[in-house]
């Protein structure tokens, strides 16, 4: 583990560079000079003909920027909630999907597409059903006898299976010519769905959620020792557990609403972060947030730039994620570093 490296500075610089790089790539060919000129003109330091300025503004600020912001938010939220879940469940192999939030959100989106097709309705229903699915999971755990990890996992598996089955019913009921492609289209996930208005709505709650999870970092450290030990260290185990699940669920559901289903980020990024900075959650969670943002910026840039057709981002996160994960697993033979 590398200590003594100024991590905060490094990560901040990395994020800024990633954002700037993402803003400068895209199908519409812009030279670096154009972008630099634009930034100067925007700051009032350079003159530029109005047409050119408008065009650059349109591409960089109106088209690319919301997408970049979306990538940052979604990547950070997924990675942080993944790390938090891994701590709460004392298991390095869990991800936000565990409690059923993605299955619920997918089902919500499917029925909204069947019933209405209006995008706002789809996003809202996806969010609500994602949260409902986790509530169902927790409810099942309570029914089966409590807040222990095994019970929660059980509840999550049951809830996830239930909503996946409901999703299949919805797909079956959808006609193959029209609604079914629309559902499949949504399920592939894409960062193009979010526009600046939606982003303005969600940025504060999501940022707050990430901060809240980081704040519970030490409690999560204690929790990963074992329930009894955490209690005897003064940690209110049940409260912390449910709070973390609630916050992580809310921000994961929000990412589904923003961008559809994007997998792998919540699973692998915390591992990469742990490799770099160790398992202490007060540092791990913000690091995961930053690395998740960078990862998603990179994959989204590839997704929308490589061909004239967009490569579904879920495919890319898996494609990039697998070799990263293999690398991590190799190092992890010594214990989940």
């Amino acid at each position: 583990m590398r200590r003594g490296v100024p991590w905060t500075a490094f990560l901040s610089v990395l994020l800024v560079v990633a954002v700037l790089a993402a803003l400068s790539v895209g199908r519409y060919p812009l030279r670096v000079k154009d972008i630099a000129d634009f930034l100067l003109a925007a700051a009032g330091l350079k003159q530029m003909p109005k047409d050119t300025y408008d065009l650059l503004y349109n591409v960089i600020v109106q088209i690319r920027l919301p997408r970049v912001l979306s990538a940052v938010l979604v990547g950070a939220a997924l990675a942080t909630s993944g790390g938090a879940y891994q701590a709460v469940f004392r298991n390095p192999l869990v991800s936000p999907e565990l409690m059923g939030v993605l299955a619920g959100a997918a089902f919500g989106a499917a029925i909204a597409i069947l019933a209405s097709g209006n995008w706002v309705v789809v996003q809202a229903t996806a969010f609500v059903m994602g949260v409902v699915a986790v509530a169902v999971a927790v409810g099942i755990a309570q029914l089966a006898g409590g807040a222990s990890i095994i019970m929660l996992v059980l509840g999550g598996v049951i809830s996830g299976t239930l909503f996946t089955a409901l999703l299949s019913i919805a797909k079956f009921a959808a006609d193959p010519g029209n609604k079914l492609p629309a559902i499949e289209y949504w399920l592939m996930g894409s960062l193009s769905l979010a526009d600046i208005k939606v982003i303005r709505w969600v940025v504060a709650p999501m940022a707050l959620g990430i901060v809240a999870l980081t704040g519970l970092g030490r409690a999560l450290d204690a929790l990963s020792m074992g329930d009894d030990e955490a209690r005897t260290l003064g940690v209110p185990v049940t409260t912390v557990r449910y709070s973390v699940i609630a916050v992580a669920t809310l921000i994961s559901a929000a990412t589904v609403s923003l961008a559809g289903m994007i997998g792998w980020v919540g699973l692998i990024i915390p591992h990469v972060a742990r490799l770099a900075i160790g398992p202490g959650n007060t540092r791990l969670l913000p690091t995961s947030a930053c690395l998740g943002a960078v990862f998603l910026l990179a994959t989204d840039s590839v997704s929308r730039t490589l061909y004239n057709v967009e490569i579904p981002i879920g495919i890319l996160t898996a494609l990039f994620g697998v070799p990263v994960f293999l690398l991590v697993v190799r190092r992890a033979r010594k214990g989940w570093i």
Binding site: R27, Y28, N58, I63, G177, Y185, D195
Partner: protein
Amino acid sequence: MTSTRVRRLCLSCLLAVTALSSAWGREITDMVGRKVTIPDRITKVFAADPYTNVLLYVVAPDLSLGLQPGCLPFRPEDRRFLRKEIAGLPELATQSPGGEQAQVNMEEVLRLKPDIVLAMGAKGANPMRVGSLKRTEERFARINLPLIFVDVDAIADYPAGIEFLGDLLGREERARRLSQYARRAFAQVQKAVAAIPPEKRVRVYYAESADGLATESDRSLHADAIRMAGGNIVHHGDIKTHQGMEKVSLEQVLLYDPEMIISQEPEFATNAYHDPRWQKVKAVANHRIYTVPRAPFNWIDRPPSVMRILGVQWLAYRFYPNVYRVDIRKEIRQFCLLFMGVDVTDADLNEWLK
């Protein structure tokens, strides 16, 4: 036995044999060359996919057992264009053209006892085509009903397909009128399009989703109508699947810079005109987004049906109003009356032509 009785017996036997043989029906050759025996009188027809569904509705709606749900208009206000007779019929699940996906319930079909089953099938040695014919045949062989393939693969095939179906179902007169109209309409469109040199062809982007970022490539079957009407589709690419709906980024659309956008979802036009991100696209800035009407079926795609005879004219009118000189209002009226059996109002026409 008395001789009278013997005579009566022979007569009844003769009559029985004649009756039976006429129930056995006649032999016809379908459009892919298969010989099929069908009953003399056909009173009920099951159309096994969206193409034939709409075709049957147009040629002989009274013989139809029901409409496929995917064809039916989604919005209630479009349902008024459906014929009254058909409105009460059940929604029947069918298979996709080519038979890859089938939601058709065989027992349900059997229960309804159609006299024949119609399916889309095209001639040709193309292995994909041969495969889909086989699939459909196998599927319907299980219920032992006469299966007839109708070739309406390309828009240009419609006149022949309509006439074939008319002969088959005893609606020759009607079929002739429909196919004559179609031939005339196609000729008009083709004449107009031929007069436009390739470099002057309108650059069109086909937006299929509400966010406008799902589209078809220029070679996709879903864009047939646009091609026929002389549109120059901006999105190029190999067709991945028949389902289509390829995703592009907004920047890509910006790069394509289409002059006109043909949109399937009305929501797209409303949103795009107000969305700052789309303003730099010429088509949006010039307010040239045209939403495809659905009255009662989609005029150009999803499903790609006989409505395209009208759709192609509507597109040609949009693309080249100065060259395609027809009274489009009259054409639409006539088509709807002739094919759909509905009167359209001026308000409707204004809506579709705005």
